[in-house]
């Protein structure tokens, strides 16, 4: 098939669309990754009553362990915590309070952490349920886990998902429309060739195949170019962040799409554009069925 400008336009449109989709997904993944990283640092502290015994501590620990998503429940070393606190106040309170008095001020604390694979929403739900269960225990004095922050993060995640889904839908619809438009022009510009093929006894499928072969080539090349470009930009950006001290920590937490994610995206986009193109080609060729004989 000829019509180079149409082919080039179609190729550019498909490549840019794929590039936009991959970039959006990558941004979402890393933003949520950064939020999750922050939330993972946020653990639950369960403060026991002053008169709690070792048996009480063990009972509370056993109760915590009943939640399968709990990855660790550690009784904090009061002595160490006291020293740290005293050191931080050294300049202000030197000699005002003794080490023993300080330790007595610190309640028995159990630090609870959840499995790192949990999402923000799951983390928030499990912490809330655990907090409810623990407050019912007579030996628990107070519970702290920055519930409001987790709720805010969960809200941000939800908003991002909604925006992401809407943007994805808009992008996908635009791609469908543009690809359909381009394919239609492409088929119409190849009217003469379709006529000749039809005159010589080519079946509909063999006519579709001529176009589909081109579409297959476009999508494959577009996918390779789009993926390579995003990967290249991502690597360069990550390296740049790595060298600048301020964002060094952030750069460690940035990840490209995993192999499974990449394959899923490639397969999905490929199928989507290919099926869309096929139906457009089919409709356009069928419309041209009244082929001129003259």
């Amino acid at each position: 098939m000829k019509i180079a400008p149409l082919k080039i336009s179609l190729f550019v449109i498909i490549t840019l669309s794929i590039l936009m989709i991959i970039t959006s997904l990558l941004c979402y993944k890393n933003f949520i990754g950064l939020l999750s990283l922050w939330s993972r640092a946020n653990k639950m502290n369960i403060y026991l009553k002053v008169d709690s015994t070792d048996k009480d501590k063990t009972d509370v620990l056993n109760l915590i362990q009943q939640t399968p998503q709990v990855s660790s429940a550690v009784v904090l070393d009061r002595q160490k915590a006291g020293l740290e606190f005293q050191n931080s106040l050294k300049n202000f309170s030197s000699g005002l309070i003794t080490e023993d008095e300080m330790i007595d001020l610190i309640p028995e604390t159990i630090e609870v952490d959840l499995q790192s694979s949990l999402t923000l929403t799951e983390r928030e739900t499990i912490f809330t349920e655990l907090a409810k269960k623990m407050s019912a225990n007579a030996q628990v004095d107070e519970i702290s886990y920055s519930a409001s922050w987790l709720k805010k993060l969960e809200f941000i995640d939800r908003i991002l998902r909604s925006i992401g889904a809407s943007v994805f839908l808009v992008l996908v619809t635009s791609i469908s429309y543009l690809v359909a438009l381009m394919m239609r022009s492409y088929v119409e510009d190849s009217k003469q060739e379709i006529e000749v093929y039809s005159l010589l006894g080519a079946t509909r499928w063999s006519v579709y195949r001529i176009f589909l072969k081109d579409v297959f080539l476009f999508i494959s090349t577009s996918l390779i170019i789009a993926f390579s470009s995003v990967l290249l930009i991502f690597t360069l950006l990550k390296n740049k962040l790595n060298t600048s001290g301020l964002f060094g920590m952030i750069s460690d937490s940035l990840h490209f799409l995993s192999l499974t994610e990449s394959i899923s995206i490639v397969v999905l986009l490929f199928l989507f554009i290919f099926i869309n193109s096929f139906f457009t080609i089919q409709a356009s060729v069928n419309k041209l069925n009244q082929l001129s004989y003259d």
């Binding site: 000829k2 003469q192 060739e193 006529e195 000749v196 093929y197 039809s198 005159l199 010589l200 006894g201 080519a202 079946t203 509909r204 063999s206 082929l291 004989y293 003259d294």
Partner: protein, 189 residues
């Protein structure tokens, strides 16, 4: 098939090749009832027919060789056999010198010879030629008709529509004269 413009020659050819729907009667071609054919069966009927049209219907982005090769590609003939058959056909129609050229660089007579070669390459049972000399001068028209007579001797049936009956001189040709959609004369030269 001779007759003035508008006599129904092209309509008959369109009916034979299933380009036109049959409103009444029956058209039977090579054992196929054309009116009864399903959409998917039409290409297989057309593969048994060779077409030579006034407008040549050549692909401008393909060379002479590639244009002639097309019916064999559609029939899934292997490359080696295609090369052999196309080369033989090119020398039979006298296009060896221009086989790598594109149609736009050929004269009208050469383009029509490419169309004839393409119509014959897959050994069709009949060849339909609708006003094949319509765009050619008398000398070239005669050479094209001579080409038809030459190939008809090898057993291919040519159905040629023309309004210039002076071109049909070969003894043994069956002349069908149509006018206003009716067959008005049928005789053999």
């Amino acid at each position: 098939m001779i007759g003035p413009s508008g006599a129904g020659k092209t309509t008959l050819f369109k009916l034979i090749s299933a380009y036109e729907k049959i409103s009444s009667g029956e058209v039977s071609v090579l054992g196929h009832n054309v009116g009864q054919l399903k959409r998917g069966q039409i290409p297989f009927l057309r593969r048994k027919i060779g077409f030579v049209l006034q407008s040549y219907k050549l692909l401008k982005n393909k060379t002479v060789f590639e244009n002639i090769e097309l019916p064999l590609i559609i029939l899934n003939v292997n490359k080696e056999e295609r090369q052999k058959k196309v080369s033989a056909m090119i020398s039979q129609v006298g296009l060896t010198e221009v086989q790598d050229q594109f149609p736009d660089f050929l004269s009208g007579g050469e383009q029509q010879r490419v169309a004839i070669a393409r119509a014959l390459i897959h050994d069709p049972e009949i060849v339909i030629a609708d006003e094949p000399t319509g765009n050619l001068d008398p000398e070239l028209s005669n050479s094209i008709m001579n080409l038809f007579f030459k190939f008809s001797k090898s057993g291919v049936t040519f159905v040629v529509a023309t309004h210039d009956y002076r071109l049909i001189k070969e003894p043994g040709c069956r002349i069908l004269k149509v006018d206003k959609g009716e067959l008005v004369e049928d005789h053999i030269l």
